[in-house]
Symmetry: C2
Subunit: 369 residues, 2 copies
């Protein structure tokens, strides 16, 4: 069963195909979309080893000329140096304007290859084949691409929409369990933003999802649809798109404070702790009932995700360090902090006048050992 | 006298202010446009030395906080390394989303700073204050930004429109005569594309222009208006915007073949020779009358611009080398060449099926010593 979610963005609209065993037919879909186009596959060493041949076989069978650019796995590849390498390789592959870049991998590959595509010849089209749960439910929608700098995560990038996304849930079977869980945090997020009934469904259906049942494709599709709704309403993140940052201001600060060391914390784990903190902070500000906080925390914990700062291994994190990273976050406006807070399960909203002092005192409490 | 040209691009529309002594009031205009915004000025050492204080004084008088990022002058600054430096400096200046980057300089600064602005935080607004004639009549309209790579010029970049352009013709008085002339080649181009009456006016009025009379501001304004018309009709260069490349396919090849060595050839000189070649090639193909070729060549020569390959100092260029660069040019589509040809003065059109063999034999004739 293949589910199609259309991301409606006017002339930049595109389909997301979700299902199992879609990698095998990727070549056909691309040939239909863009006859006679050549492709440069950008992927990382792990994805290349596990699934590269399957994709190349599919492209060849569809008569598509292709070359492969392999980058090291891991967040460190989201750098200026690797951007230059990939850009140079795409140009070197002699792709013309109507040809395609294929971003084949998780979030790092998607962000880097999408950004590279956006700046080669001032914008080349790209197809995204996300191979992690996080990438399927998050970066497959919204067109955010980018790299990190010494000064922070994703501070450099572009909005660049793919022309097609192919999300094959079979590919997720080779993901490490920890990475699958981390991606699941973003699935939960869509329920917590504004779909309480989806959160209920997840509470009931999590075994099917984690057992690679049909529920997994449905959860991916619902997540993509939820994100697409928000993005369609606000493509460049000036307004309600900020809701997608639920848990992310805290989460980014945790990632920054742990030096993006994936041994200690991966993005989805940061989001899991961040969403829990956002609910706890909302409760602390008398905005959100305690029951909702407990349901969120229990569900995330039940699937094996961390929900508190103290669960992060290594040196304890202190509130001042976290505040420093929060202040650097790109969602700062004229000295007041913008946070996504919630009035209860699935009732998140954008609060753009949060007092740094209140966040600080809350964090001090949360980082006490 | 200040002339305002509005570039109509829907939500990305912006004004170009053209006149003398506009630098002194730049701060006021920026304060009106974006109250309380802070600015990061990106400029080169020469412009900073000649006009930096005047701009900073104007900003300070208008109560605008600012910092300055100074890059080396010259085409070599359009590199990945310098892009990273400028991006890092903009982020380091702690600009927030509503703040502004000011691109203060010629084409190199505009292309680099505009591109940097486009990718910091996935897109920051920028104001352009072009200080060369070329930048005032060319890069001030169209939103093309970018850098060079080993493989070619402007192969990496973004379409990113400024929010305002301030073109002060007084600033042009400090330009070297050679650079002023080179910029003038692009002014002539607008006449040759589709405004024969503007070309007539230039033939009659060139002394006023080169004497910094009122004709200069008028010529800049007419050029900006001409380019704005084309760009508004075709923002991302899929169709008629290609007309702006009149003389540029040959010109870029000449620049490439001379290694972008400005001692031998600057961009506008390449365009001057390129436009002459485009008319000669059109005549060679029996498309354009000989009288038009002569008028174009005579006018360019009269202002001191080169009009033939043999005028380029240094080792003679050969046809095969030029063809190699033409084939790498981004306006290649499926093996046929796209050239801007002309049916006579001011009657340029896009020819997308030019035979590489005919270009080669024409170039062989033109590069014979």
């Amino acid at each position: 069963m293949t589910i199609t979610v259309n991301v409606e963005l006017g002339s930049r609209s595109y389909p997301i195909f979700i299902g199992s065993a879609l990698l095998e037919t990727a070549g056909e879909r691309i040939a239909v979309l863009r006859p006679a186009a050549r492709c440069a596959i950008v992927t990382d060493v792990n994805v290349d080893a596990a699934h590269g041949d399957a994709l190349r076989k599919s492209l060849s069978q569809a008569g598509i000329e292709h070359s492969t650019i392999v980058i090291p796995a891991g967040e460190a590849s989201k750098s200026f140096a690797m951007l230059e390498t990939v850009v140079d390789a795409i140009i070197g592959a002699k792709l013309e304007r109507r040809d395609l870049v294929i971003a084949f991998g998780g979030g790092v590959v998607g962000d880097l290859a999408g950004f590279a595509a956006s700046i080669v010849r001032r914008g080349m089209d790209f197809v995204q084949i996300p191979t992690s749960l996080l990438a399927q439910v998050d970066s497959s929608v919204g067109g955010k691409t980018g790299i990190n700098t010494q000064r922070g995560k994703n501070l450099v990038g572009a909005f660049h929409q793919p022309v097609m996304v192919i999300a094959d849930t079979n590919v997720l079977r080779t993901l490490p369990a920890r990475e699958f869980r981390a991606g699941y945090a973003e699935v939960v997020k869509y329920g917590l933003i504004n779909k309480p009934e989806f959160f209920d469904w997840l509470e009931a259906g999590r075994e099917g999802i984690f057992g690679f049942g049909n529920e997994l494709g449905e959860a991916v599709a619902t997540s993509c649809r939820a994100k697409a709704e928000v993005v369609a309403a606000d493509e460049t993140e000036t307004g309600m798109r900020a809701l997608l940052n639920l848990g992310h201001t805290f989460g980014h600060a945790l990632e920054g404070a742990t030096g993006y060391d994936s041994a200690r914390l991966v993005h989805g784990e940061g989001v899991s702790i961040g969403m829990t903190l956002a609910h706890e902070f909302s409760n602390h500000m008398n905005l959100c009932d305690a029951d909702s906080v407990i349901r969120v925390r229990d569900h995330l914990r039940a699937v094996g995700l961390p929900v508190s700062v103290s669960e992060i291994p290594g040196n304890p994190l202190d509130a001042a360090t976290l505040m420093k990273f929060i202040a650097q976050d790109k969602k700062v406006s004229r000295g007041r902090l913008t946070f996504i807070l919630t009035k209860g399960l699935g009732q998140s909203y954008i609060a753009d006048d949060v007092s740094p002092e209140k966040v600080m005192s809350f964090l001090e409490e949360k980082t006490l050992k």
